[in-house]
């Protein structure tokens, strides 16, 4: 039985946000929607200052509050541990978003078609893209996935539903690593199958000090952190991203 998990090595992470960009391009998420976020935060005061980075995908919790609260089962957890949203079923109540202690869910507040940064209806562009919006539109995202055979991959599908990190289910099912893990310039993100004793992920999980995010929430994440530090109470985020959504 496959059980996917992710280990993020904070002793390697450069806080560069390449993972954020890879996710956005791969999953075609609309403007302002960031499934992966990388916190940059400061603790302490000059000169005893600590600068830290913390990449934050969906934690794919084994005890996922978001799944529990979904009134229609649009948010569900797969056998292999991946927590997904069926955007054909989601009614857009945003209860999952509130139940999640990590703030990883993103709602499509407006028509995704109109939220892809630039005006792609430019005639010269249409000639090249055949009208694809965004022009880098990834066809895999419309396919059905898992034994459930539900449309769960990618983002920006339609107005009024909640979306979030899918662990790149469409890549994983092809045997590829998630986009963020693939692009990470320093290989800080390890993705693997914890049920496979030979999976390299164990090298990180078993040999290093590790922590989970917000253990007190009892969510039992499938994303683990090695090295680095859990943000403390006086952690101050710096260099915020612009998550303004078009409306």
């Amino acid at each position: 039985m496959t059980k996917y998990a992710m280990v993020i090595d904070l002793d390697r992470c450069q806080g560069c946000r390449a993972c954020v960009e890879a996710c956005k391009v791969e999953n075609n998420t609309p403007q302002g929607a960031m499934w992966m976020h990388v916190f940059r935060f400061e603790e302490g005061t000059y000169p005893r200052t600590q600068v830290s980075f913390l990449p934050r995908p969906c934690q794919h919790c084994d005890n996922a509050p978001c799944v529990k609260v979904c009134p229609v089962g649009a948010r569900f957890k797969r056998e292999d541990g991946i927590v997904l949203t069926d955007f054909d079923r989601c009614i857009g109540c945003r209860y999952c978003e509130l139940a999640c202690p990590y703030g990883v869910n993103v709602f499509n507040w407006s028509e995704p078609e109109d939220s892809y940064y630039l005006d792609w209806s430019d005639v010269d562009i249409l000639g090249v893209t055949g009208g694809a919006v965004p022009p880098y539109k990834n066809p895999d995202l419309e396919l059905l996935h898992g034994e459930e055979q539900r449309r769960t991959a990618g983002g920006g599908h339609l107005k009024g539903v909640v979306e979030k990190c899918t662990f790149c289910v469409h890549r994983v099912e092809k045997g590829l690593r998630p986009a963020c893990a693939t692009t990470c310039p320093v290989n800080a993100i390890t993705f693997g199958d914890t049920d496979d004793p030979d999976d390299p992920i164990h090298a990180k999980l078993d040999t290093r000090d590790r922590f989970d995010l917000l253990p007190e929430a009892g969510t039992r994440p499938r994303v683990h952190y090695v090295g680095g530090r859990h943000p403390g109470e006086d952690a101050r985020q710096v260099e915020k991203v612009d998550s303004e959504v078009s409306s």
């Binding site: 302002g32 960031m34 976020h37 916190f39 935060f41 913390l54 934050r56 509050p65 529990k68 609260v69 979904c70 009134p71 229609v72 089962g73 649009a74 079923r89 989601c90 009614i91 857009g92 109540c93 945003r94 209860y95 978003e97 509130l98 139940a99 999640c100 202690p101 990590y102 703030g103 990883v104 869910n105 993103v106 709602f107 499509n108 507040w109 407006s110 028509e111 107005k159 009024g160 539903v161 909640v162 995010l213 917000l214 929430a217 009892g218 969510t219 943000p231 109470e233 952690a235 101050r236 985020q237 915020k240 991203v241 998550s243 959504v245 078009s246 409306s247």
Partner: protein, 432 residues
């Protein structure tokens, strides 16, 4: 004594004038409703982005806002309505029957409004209706809200209301008039003979018995919607449900008092809706307020002392932070009436004016508190260092909610017009 049917000894121009007031009020309500409908249409075509709501976390907003706040409020009101009605029945407080009927109307109407508002808050409204039937998951507290509260309990109260209206209808049906066909139809063969009335009494008695637990449960689930969320500082609390229920009672009673006072004035029913009636309502309201204020204090203490950093942040925002104005105003709007009513209780003098004031104040206070349950735990409630967010409703939200209130006014008005509260008089004469 005559069994002449109301209204008695009333000059026609008084009636006309009253109709005129009635019509303008209804007209205004219709206008506001129209605005609400327009706003909603706008929201549907452009998406919820036209509201002030935004994602929590990076979105730096509140993903539930004014809409959910008012859903909670409406459901609360309905709760009180049906309780009073049921209690009156169970405790056999015959002198309150008049109010009972209004309470039932209030319940049904506010439930309808709550249901509509939930739909208005959904990103996929039509799907909402369809999928809730197709895929409903009992595990979700939300499911409780939808099915128990809205569906089950709306049904129960409708039946309940129907039973009583049926009797009125039967009474009304005895008299010629433009609506006689309707009254006949509603009465559906029931002609209020002692025997029938006997059966009617029993039926609605047992219904009342049934409704009470159902609605305690139902309303609690609404409390759970918030109370069960570990991820939301300020929500995860055992007090959520009970506190929710008592505040509900208070606001409902408050509204009931206002409604009763209106009917009393408008219909010149002073002799039926007498001070005794209002005294009773006053006592109910006072009771509810006392309990709620107690909860409020307990919650404050737990939040400020025992709480962790996140909880601390919320209570700061509430007590001294950006939400302090709303917090203290609403608290005042709840405590002041409590004191006033306490005084009244001691002096045993229940002035209708005071009660109406209290009723209004309590409802404003309740609305404030509902808003504070929903919003701060989102804008100040993130556990990772996202920083604080902000939320302020847009014209769309105000219009939609306003529209729903207007709809409420229209529905109640319509009911009162169709079934003037007259069965009462019958009673009077009978018991004479």
């Amino acid at each position: 004594m005559s069994t002449g049917i109301a209204p008695i000894g009333e000059s026609s121009q008084v009636r006309d004038q009253r109709h005129w007031v009635f019509r303008t009020v209804m007209g205004l309500a219709a206008a506001v409703l129209a605005l609400g409908v327009f706003a909603y249409a706008y929201e549907v075509s452009n998406g919820l982005g036209v509201t002030g709501m935004r994602d929590v976390g990076l979105g730096g907003g509140a993903t539930w806002g004014m809409y959910i706040g008012f859903v909670v409020y409406f459901v609360g009101v309905s709760f009180a309505g049906i309780t009073v009605a049921a209690l009156i029945r169970l405790l056999g407080l015959d002198q309150l029957r008049a109010v009972g009927r209004m309470a039932e109307v209030l319940t049904v109407v506010s439930l309808v409004l709550g249901a509509l508002l939930i739909i208005a808050d959904l990103g996929q409204p039509l799907r909402g209706v369809v999928n809730l039937f197709l895929y409903a998951r009992p595990q979700s507290p939300f499911f409780g809200t939808f099915t128990l509260v809205i569906a089950g309990y709306l049904f129960a109260s409708l039946v309940y209301l129907y039973l009583d209206s049926r009797r009125d209808a039967a009474v009304l049906a005895r008299r010629e008039g433009p609506l006689q066909w309707l009254h006949r139809f509603v009465a559906a063969g029931y002609s209020d003979t002692p025997a029938e009335r006997e059966r009617h009494e029993r039926a609605s008695f047992w219904l009342a018995v049934g409704i009470i637990p159902l609605l305690v449960m139902a309303t609690s689930t609404l409390g759970f919607v918030f109370g069960l969320q570990v991820g939301r500082p300020g929500w995860f609390s055992a007090l959520q449900a009970p506190a929710f229920v008592t505040l509900a009672a208070a606001s409902g009673l408050g509204l009931l008092i206002v409604l009763a006072a209106l009917v009393r004035h408008a219909g010149h029913h002073e002799e039926v809706l007498d001070h005794d009636v209002f005294a009773w309502l006053g006592r109910f309201l006072l009771g509810a307020l006392l309990v709620y204020v107690y909860f409020m204090i307990v919650e404050l203490l737990t939040a400020t002392y025992t709480a962790g950093p996140a909880e601390q942040r919320i209570s700061e925002a509430l007590l001294t932070g950006r939400y302090a104005p709303i917090f203290w105003t609403s608290a005042g709007l709840l405590v002041a009436p409590m004191l006033a009513l306490l005084a009244a209780a001691v002096r045993r003098t229940w002035s209708v004016g005071l009660l109406v004031l209290a009723g209004v104040a309590v409802n404003l206070g309740a609305i404030g508190k509902r808003y504070l349950i929903v919003v701060p735990s989102q804008t100040e409630g993130e556990l990772l260092p996202y920083g604080a967010g902000a939320y302020s409703p847009t014209w769309v939200e105000y219009s939609v909610v306003g529209g729903l209130f207007a709809l409420g006014v229209l529905l109640i008005g319509l009911y009162l017009w169709l079934f003037p509260v007259v069965g009462l008089r019958e009673e009077v004469s009978d018991h004479a």
